[in-house]
């Protein structure tokens, strides 16, 4: 338990240092926080059910009453957007939780055990890296369409997003294993488990956070891609699904209802920029030359 709280405290400290010390991280993190607040704190107060049709007047441009306008499906875009942000982020979070931790675990085992175990694990990892992710997911989601929910979609996407973190953690562990301080720890009589947790983990943790962020980014992108192709959960709200309906059902562009499309697209761009900035900021910070 002690190590867990210590790790959490280290993470917290890291976040604060990052926020204070890195402009990119600060911008990214601020945008992200606003999005998270909109998605999780604001969206429950929606006056209407964002999944129902025709509950507000259709095709209204942005106005005082409907700040982001309404869609041809008769939904208030502001509230639909908030719900979409929530669901998209949830999917992404589920993916990142699963994929980056599988990656961490397998990477660690491969890096530490080496030999045959390493070779087998890396063979599997490489196989998954080679299989193109989106086509595979398209097949799987088509088959499982009826069973898709927000969390299960997140799980499905994690099938294709664990190999990279795993490779990255492995290579880190491999190079750390040869560092002198690992030998010092062993010669100080520390057992293998303690060497892993206390000497290796602090290094890998930072990169783990980056992997986590990148996986979120990957997952949001993948879900949007699937949704635009009509393969996501079309009766719920996600950013991708909003775009799908606006394009394929509402012909929003042809009919000049630009606000229907603009809201989710702009939000997606913001999500991408913010996560990207957060990830870049962290990478800059972790980089050994910059960090010292």
């Amino acid at each position: 338990m002690g190590t867990v709280t210590e790790s959490l405290r280290r993470m917290g400290k890291l976040l604060i240092t990052l926020y204070m010390g890195n402009l990119k991280f600060r911008i990214g993190f601020t945008i992200l926080s606003i999005l998270v607040i909109l998605g999780f704190a604001v969206s429950p107060f929606s006056p209407t059910n964002t999944r129902s049709w025709y509950i507000v007047p259709r095709d209204r441009p942005p106005s005082y009453e409907y700040p982001l306008g309404t869609s041809s499906m008769g939904r208030d875009i502001l509230w639909e957007l908030c719900a979409s942000i929530r669901n998209s982020l949830t999917i992404a979070f589920v993916t990142a939780m699963i994929a980056s931790h599988i990656g961490l675990f397998l990477g660690f085992i491969a890096g530490i055990r080496g030999g045959v175990i390493d070779r087998i694990l890396m063979f599997i990892t490489d196989t998954f890296i080679i299989i193109p992710g989106l086509p595979l997911l398209m097949v799987v989601t088509t088959v499982l369409k009826r069973y898709l929910t927000i969390p299960t979609l997140g799980m499905l996407i994690s099938i294709v997003s664990w190999p990279w973190p795993s490779r990255q953690v492995r290579s880190m562990v491999l190079s750390l294993r040869e560092r002198t301080f690992i030998h010092t720890a062993k010669l100080s009589g520390m057992g293998t488990f303690r060497v892993i947790v206390q000497e290796l983990m602090p290094y890998v943790l930072g990169w783990h956070l980056i992997n986590f962020t990148n996986t979120i980014l990957f997952s949001i992108g993948t879900e949007s891609g699937l949704a635009i192709l009509g393969l996501s959960i079309l009766d719920d709200n996600t950013l991708g699904v909003m775009i799908y309906w606006a394009l394929n059902w509402g012909y929003a562009l042809f009919r000049g209802i630009w606000w229907w499309l603009a809201a989710p697209v702009a939000t997606l761009v913001l999500v991408f920029i913010s996560f990207y900035l957060v990830s870049i900021g962290m990478t800059e910070f972790m980089h050994p030359i910059a960090r010292r």
């Binding site: 240092t17 204070m20 010390g21 890195n22 800059e284 910070f285 910059a290 960090r291 010292r292």
Partner: protein
């Protein structure tokens, strides 16, 4: 070449510790010396004493954090052309001075060699830019030249990583001498090599210097290298030159207490008598001590040493030191 009052240092740009951003590291603090034609000049000192920074500043090779704070470095070409490298920007230096009049051999040859270019193309590029030679002609020239410096001709078509460390360093040396510059700056040219390769590389440098009768500057922390190679040398400590003189004088009649300690701590084959090093460690150049920078570690430190900075004074002919022990005001040394 004349270097006068050169001041350079690093502005820290670390992200990690925000309180250190903008702190100035006083790595080269008012260094002056003169180099003559046809000599090998050594700059010795321990890690962090500013010797590499000095060379980079003279060469005009400024990394983003390295800043110049004053002084000049004038070099004279073979026909008497004068350049002040501290007044020239990088583009101008690249076009007019580097390789042609002054070349630089860094510690790691990989800093000079482009990993995606074959060795012969490195030669061809320099010959093309500075002499205007065509590619085919340049290849011929490179081949002839490599034979001259005793490198296997097959090395020409190799990529840098395919050569051993010793060979790579010799290729860099060959490149540096290619246009027969009047000044060659070698920054720890052999520290990454083992003794035998070191000897091969250093003798090559020395032979070429003898043939060209130009000036060769060797920066090395290894006193042995200076002892066998240089004519005159300077000892640096914490960003300042503490002693300059003929190598033989420095080795057998050192003046400055720091030089003495360096020489005395040098182990020699066939001599098992006890060697004693210095205690303490070099000062932090972010906040160097007042007075003489060596005084906290100096066994002869006097009151004045912590108050005023000694200047470099000629004690014997051609032998300078910056130490209060040799000042008339204080009297003769013990």
């Amino acid at each position: 070449m004349i270097v006068e009052g050169l001041k350079a240092g690093y502005k820290l740009q670390t992200i990690g510790s925000s309180e250190e951003v903008g702190v100035y590291v006083d790595a080269v603090s008012g260094v002056s010396f003169t180099l003559y034609r046809n000599e090998v000049f050594g700059i010795a000192g321990e890690s962090g004493c500013g010797k590499s920074t000095l060379i980079k500043a003279v060469y005009g090779y400024y990394e983003p954090s390295l800043v110049l704070r004053g002084g000049s470095a004038r070099i004279y070409g073979a026909k008497g052309e004068e350049f002040d490298t501290t007044r020239m920007d990088r583009g101008l230096l690249e076009k007019r001075v580097w390789w042609k009049h002054m070349s630089y051999i860094p510690q790691s040859s990989m800093n000079v060699l482009n990993p995606t270019m074959r060795i012969r193309d490195h030669f061809a590029e320099i010959l093309r830019i500075h002499v205007g030679m065509k590619k085919g002609e340049a290849y011929q020239e490179a081949r002839k030249y490599l034979e001259e410096v005793g490198l296997p001709v097959d090395a020409l078509s190799a990529f840098p990583h395919q050569l051993s460390g010793g060979m790579r360093q010799r290729v860099v040396i060959a490149l540096a001498i290619l246009l027969e510059p009047s000044l060659i700056l070698a920054d720890e040219p052999s520290s990454a090599l083992d003794v035998i390769n070191q000897k091969v590389a250093l003798t090559l440098l020395r032979e070429k210097q003898e043939a060209l009768k130009n000036t060769l500057v060797i920066v090395s922390h290894d006193m042995g290298v200076h002892g066998v190679l240089t004519h005159r040398m300077a000892i640096m400590y914490a960003g300042k030159i503490v002693e300059i003189g003929r190598t033989a004088d420095i080795f057998w009649k050192p003046l400055h207490p720091y030089t003495k300690a360096l020489i005395e701590s040098l182990p020699r084959l066939g001599d098992k008598s006890k060697r004693v090093g210095l205690s303490g460690s070099p000062p932090d150049l972010k906040k160097p001590p007042d007075g003489c920078r060596f005084h906290p570690r100096c066994p002869y430190a006097m009151l004045i040493c912590s108050r005023a900075e000694p200047s470099l004074r000629e004690i014997k002919e051609g032998h300078y030191t910056a130490c209060w022990l040799y000042s008339e005001a204080v009297g003769e040394p013990r």
